[in-house]
């Protein structure tokens, strides 16, 4: 709780002066930055152990690249935090167009890896459009809802928002990237929720989702129509009975549980489960297994606390935003982060289905890291603008 500062005439000079004074005048939210930096360090430390045997002869391949992505992302975050996000509202159509275009481009010219076409290859890197799409979707939907702010409780608005999210979601699920598709849907739902859509409509959407999921997972396969690839629906249901088929679908989750359990309280030196590749994808989707094995309950708990800090700061920024647009962006990002953290960690400890979402900032991967960093950059921008605006109006914002 901070004391109230004396109220002076609201002018920009005063705001600038306030921003320049004392520790409160940091150009960004220090706690948010701390959470991001902490997670980045955890990511690099864990990758060092988990990937040392992944590519024979180059034990540091993943560590070096991830450090580079984190560095690039940090710079991008800083740059974005200096921009006024509210200007992006005017580019709504462009942003949404870019989202749809990039996903279609991936489907058209993307390269395949492990049976899925999710990325476009450039000379030095490959770009996973569905990752960046999360931010684009947040921006586009937030802008749209600000436009419809006076009609937010109308059914028409809700339907348009849902449709606007469903189109890209279906396109990425077709890649197939089920995880990102689910993230898109969650983003739109959280946006509607925070924007004030009526409980009735929210409940109706939830019911529709439940009916659709039942149809996709149970009814359609029984009728011989596979909306999802068989492996996807198998994964989605395998966590309910992990030991029934440990050699196939349940294998990854079982090995992941063994790795985390074997980490015990303070971790296991050598971390054989993950460093000897018993847990597939332990550098990307299953990195939390590597954290849990190498650093035990303490390390896993620390990572979770950092995520707790990240999410709580996001919700705080949601509340302190100077305008509805900022709040909605923060809401979308909060939904994205929460869903990814809970589903990802949940699947490594066997309480969630395997859906192929990354653990933000910790999982290896440039697209994921930079997307999350851009999201954090937006949050920082909202924070900076909120403080500037408050100072302008002579108010004091609690952090």
């Amino acid at each position: 709780m901070s004391p109230l500062s004396p109220i002076t005439a609201p002018d920009t000079r005063a705001a600038d002066a306030a921003a320049a004074r004392g520790p409160r005048s940091a150009p960004f939210d220090p706690l948010l930055a701390l959470a991001v930096a902490g997670l980045g360090v955890c990511s690099v430390l864990t990758l060092k152990s988990a990937t040392r045997n992944l590519i024979p002869g180059s034990p540091d391949y993943y560590v070096q690249r991830q450090a580079l992505y984190l560095g690039l992302g940090f710079v991008a975050m800083l740059a974005l935090s200096r921009l006024d996000y509210s200007r992006l509202r005017h580019y709504m159509s462009l942003v949404y167009g870019a989202l749809i275009f990039s996903i279609l481009a991936v489907l058209a010219i993307g390269h395949s890896a492990k049976g899925a076409t999710r990325a476009i290859s450039f000379p030095l890197f490959s770009f996973q459009a569905s990752e960046l799409g999360k931010i684009l979707l947040v921006l586009a939907l937030a802008a749209f809802m600000v436009e419809r702010a006076r009609h937010v409780s109308e059914r028409d608005t809700t339907i348009r928002v849902v449709l606007a999210a469903l189109i890209p979601a279906m396109l990425v699920i077709a890649q197939p990237d089920l995880g990102s598709g689910l993230v898109y849907m969650v983003i739109s739902y959280v946006l509607l929720f925070i924007a004030g859509t009526s409980w009735k409509q929210l409940a109706a959407i939830a019911a529709l989702v439940a009916v659709a999921a039942t149809f996709v997972l149970v009814a359609a396969p029984a009728a011989g129509v596979h909306v999802l690839k068989p492996y996807q629906s198998e994964r989605l249901t395998a966590f309910l009975h992990p030991s029934s088929n440990p050699k196939k679908v349940g294998y990854q989750q079982l090995e992941s549980k063994i790795a985390i359990g074997a980490g015990q309280k303070t971790g296991r030196s050598g971390a054989p489960q993950t460093s000897l590749n018993f847990v597939p994808e332990d550098q990307t989707d299953f990195i939390f297994a590597a954290v849990g094995e190498k650093y035990g309950f303490l390390g896993a708990g620390l990572v979770l606390l950092l995520f707790g800090l990240l999410i709580s700061r996001t919700l705080r920024i949601l509340v302190m935003s100077k305008d509805l647009f900022g709040s909605l962006i923060a809401a979308g990002i909060a939904g994205m982060l929460m869903f990814q953290v809970f589903v990802n960690v949940g699947m490594t400890i066997g309480i969630m289905p395997i859906t192929g979402v990354t653990l933000p900032l910790v999982s290896y991967g440039g697209s994921s890291v930079i997307t999350t960093m851009l999201a954090v950059g937006l949050l920082q921008s909202i924070y900076v603008q909120a403080r500037a605006s408050a100072a302008l109006k002579g108010r004091v914002l609690r952090d």
Binding site: L4, I7, N53, A149, R150, V152, S153, V190, F193, I194, A195, G196, E255, K257, I258, A259, I260, G261, A262, G263, Q264, K265, R268, P272, Q273, L276, N277, F278, G292, G296, F297, A300, G301, L304, G308, I311, S312, L315, L318, V319, M320, D323, L324, S327, A331, A334, G335, M338, F342, V345, G346, I349, G350, I351, A390, K393, R395, V396, L397, R398
Partner: protein, 727 residues
């Protein structure tokens, strides 16, 4: 309605509508619930049940390879080494370090093996079905039998060829060729051994040659960089420096096989361990084997070994075994056997096999024991071909060299059984010693004639004389009389140690048969059951299953013929019992013959003295004296059956009590037997010698016994063939 109310001027706090506050709080609440769930789950996985996952992870990423323990040595009673273990460097292949190609080939081989195993299992099922259907057919046709045979072949363990090396594996092929030139193996042989070894024990090094010789080992060591994946590892090899010496009782060693893994005696023994296969190596395996060490290696998810080597648990060497065997006597006895056989063969007799036992009658210590023909146990160091193995085991009717005839022989004994008959008759009042019996060349019972060998006529003789000259008619008459006294001969034989397991410390001892009325009833029953089950006219157990035990059967038993089946070791126990009763006023100790004396630590210090039980039987001292007098006269007085064999022997110093025997076999040369007790007060000895198809007892077995005794008592080594033509 907008989520965020317009800002009221001059309100110092952040403008948040109640609705937004509620919804954000809800979102935060959901996050808290999920965090709590995850923390609880992590606590459960890592703290409450972590131990269990540590174990699972260990199983996942480590493999334990055994390190063979040096096997204990075997010494004779003086501590002279009979069986040793030599450590030599084996040439091994480390599959992970070979040039590319071997894993593909091994995978191909495993695929073939799995397919062959599936086919075999399917054929097994079909075979069982076919056999069930055949059971209802009393006389299967030739076609049905042929079908049955082909199914049996299909259901037998398949031989799976190793697929050829992949064409691309040129470096590997060149390496095998180079290595083959150094250690003297064809490249293909090396390749096959590597692939088969990798399949049998994954992750382990594969031994391709154990006895490569120092020259080859030096070349491989000096030019190691030319031989990637070729390593040298010290291995322990069992060595039998005396070759055939007591080969059947010593046994041999080999890797434990599938059925053995299920045996109680090998509980806790891992596949691939070398264990005793026969004889003493098997019987004392628990002591000799030692405890293997463990090399734990780390593997990755693909099962490939990771470079790190963890500290091994070192193996514990096996204990060594000290035998009662006297190496010198053993060698001389085997030499004597060969000499006796050669002598018999010189006279046109096949004399193809035989056995002997030399035992201390007081405590059952076996000083020498052997069976011929012999074999060299060192042959088992290398894999035998099926034909070689079949030759060692022998075929149904005639046992091969592996069979120890001394304790597994199953023979009638001929006249060496007569002292037992005599004891039975005296003890049970069937005869009185002075009574003259057996006059004439033959005696006739109902319509059957029972004659002396060579139709000799000894006139009516008393017991002592009957034993001395080995009068068959005398003992036929005893057998005839004993028949009306019930099973006196059978009971006496059992009392002295015949027809039951002696308890010798060897794995496959023969129990023996002393036939009698009840035995005959049982055999008839078995035969009838077998005929009924198999729908054949005769199973070969008994030729006439309706016949009961007759007086003629009893008369044959009295002279050690007929259906009596025993072996030199049981006879040695019986003679020892008589000798012990003779020297102890009628109290006869029935000993447990044995070869094991002590178990020693691998450094030579005593760990355990082995003891074997014995029990006492009571005989009338006068009866024993009469029987012993009879067989002493047989070996020492003119006219005795083996007196000429012992010509020149110092009978006052080492009195000989010996009995010849000649067991008759259908359509075969007679089997030569000799049993004797040498009554040296300090070093008494019981000898049992038999030579299959060796002729009369006096001409082959008795001279061998004399040679053995000469060695033991340091008397003149002299082979004297006896002239007695008695049975």
């Amino acid at each position: 309605m907008s989520a965020i109310e317009p800002v009221r001027p001059r309100d110092p706090r952040v403008p948040v509508s109640p609705q937004l506050a509620v919804r954000v709080a809800l979102l935060g609440g959901i996050a808290m619930v999920f965090f709590a769930l995850i923390f609880f789950r992590l606590w459960y996985l890592q703290v409450l049940t972590g131990e269990q996952y540590v174990h699972q992870a260990d199983v996942n990423h480590t493999r334990d390879l055994p390190i063979a323990a040096p096997r204990g040595e075997i010494f004779d009673r003086e501590g002279r080494s009979i069986v040793t273990s030599k450590t030599t460097n084996a040439v091994q292949i480390v599959p992970g370090l070979l040039p590319a190609g071997i894993y593909e080939q091994a995978a191909g081989y495993q695929k073939r093996l799995a397919a062959a195993e599936d086919a075999r299992a399917a054929a097994g099922v079909r075979l069982a079905e076919y056999e069930r259907s055949l059971e209802r057919v009393p006389h299967p046709s030739a076609a049905q039998r042929a079908e049955h045979r082909s199914l049996e072949r299909a259901a037998a363990a398949p031989r799976v060829a190793v697929p050829p090396l992949p064409r691309s594996a040129t470096r590997l092929r060149a390496l095998f060729t180079r290595l083959g030139r150094v250690i003297g193996l064809r490249p293909r042989t090396i390749d096959e051994r590597v692939v088969q070894g990798m399949t049998a024990t994954p992750y382990a090094h594969v031994t391709v040659k154990t006895d490569a010789g120092t020259g080859a080992l030096t070349v491989l060591g000096e030019r190691a960089n030319e031989f990637p994946g070729v390593a040298q590892e010290p291995v322990s090899i069992r060595q039998y420096p005396f070759g055939e010496l007591a080969a059947q009782v010593i046994g041999h060693v080999d890797e434990i096989n599938g059925p053995e893994l299920k045996l109680k005696a090998f509980r806790g023994v891992k596949a691939g361990t070398v264990v005793g296969q026969e004889g003493l190596e098997y019987y004392y395996d628990g002591y000799l084997r030692g405890r293997p060490g463990v090399q734990r290696i780390e593997v990755n998810a693909a099962g490939e070994p990771v470079a790190s080597r963890l500290a091994p648990t070192l193996p514990q060497a096996g204990h060594s075994l000290k035998l009662t065997l006297d190496l010198g006597l053993q060698r001389e006895a085997e030499k004597a056997m060969r000499e006796g056989k050669a002598n018999a063969q010189g006279q046109g007799k096949p004399a193809n096999g035989g056995a002997f036992v030399a035992m201390d009658p007081r405590d059952g210590q076996i000083l020498a024991i052997g069976s011929q023909p012999g074999f060299d146990p060192n042959r088992f160091a290398k894999p035998l071909t099926p034909a070689e193995y079949a030759a060692l085991v022998g075929t149904g009717a005639s046992a091969g060299p592996l069979d120890d005839k001394a304790e597994n022989g199953a023979y009638p004994t001929g006249s060496t059984f007569k002292p037992i008959t005599a004891m039975a008759a005296l003890e049970n009042g069937v005869i009185s010693p002075g009574e003259g019996l057996g006059a004439g060349q033959c005696i006739t019972v109902s319509t059957q004639e029972f004659c002396n060998a060579g139709h000799a006529d000894y006139g009516p003789v008393g017991l002592v004389q009957a034993l001395k000259v080995s009068s068959d008619t005398y003992f036929f008459e005893v057998g005839e009389r004993a028949f009306s006294h019930g099973t006196v001969i059978q009971r006496e034989a059992e009392k002295l140690g015949i027809g039951r397991h002696t308890g010798v410390d060897l794995p496959s001892e023969f129990g023996g048969v002393v036939p009698g009325p009840r035995w005959r009833v049982e055999q008839n029953k078995l035969e009838l059951e077998c005929e009924h089950r198999r729908h054949v006219s005769n199973c070969g157990i008994v030729l006439e299953p309706e016949r009961v035990w007759s007086v003629g059967d009893n008369m044959h038993l009295a002279v050690g013929q007929g259906e009596l089946l025993t072996d030199p070791l049981q006879m040695a126990v019986a003679y020892s019992t008589l000798a012990n009763a003779y020297t102890h006023g009628g109290v006869g100790t029935v000993v447990t013959p044995h070869l094991g004396m002590e178990i020693d630590e691998s450094n030579g210090s005593l760990r355990q003295t082995l003891s074997f039980p014995s029990h006492k039987v009571h005989l009338d001292p006068e009866d024993v004296n009469l029987v012993m007098e009879g067989i002493h006269e047989a070996a020492s007085q003119p006219g005795g059956t083996s007196a000429d064999v012992w010509a020149g022997w110092n009978q006052t110093q080492d009195p000989v009590f010996g009995k010849t025997g000649t067991a008759q076999h259908y359509e075969k040369e007679d089997q030569s037997w000799y049993m004797c007790y040498i009554g040296d007060p300090k070093r008494p000895l019981v000898l049992a010698v038999t030579v299959e198809q060796g002729g009369f007892g006096a001409e082959t077995a008795a001279p061998i016994a004399r040679l053995i005794a000469s060695q033991y008592y340091h008397q003149q080594l002299k082979f004297v063939a006896g002239s007695s033509k008695t049975l």
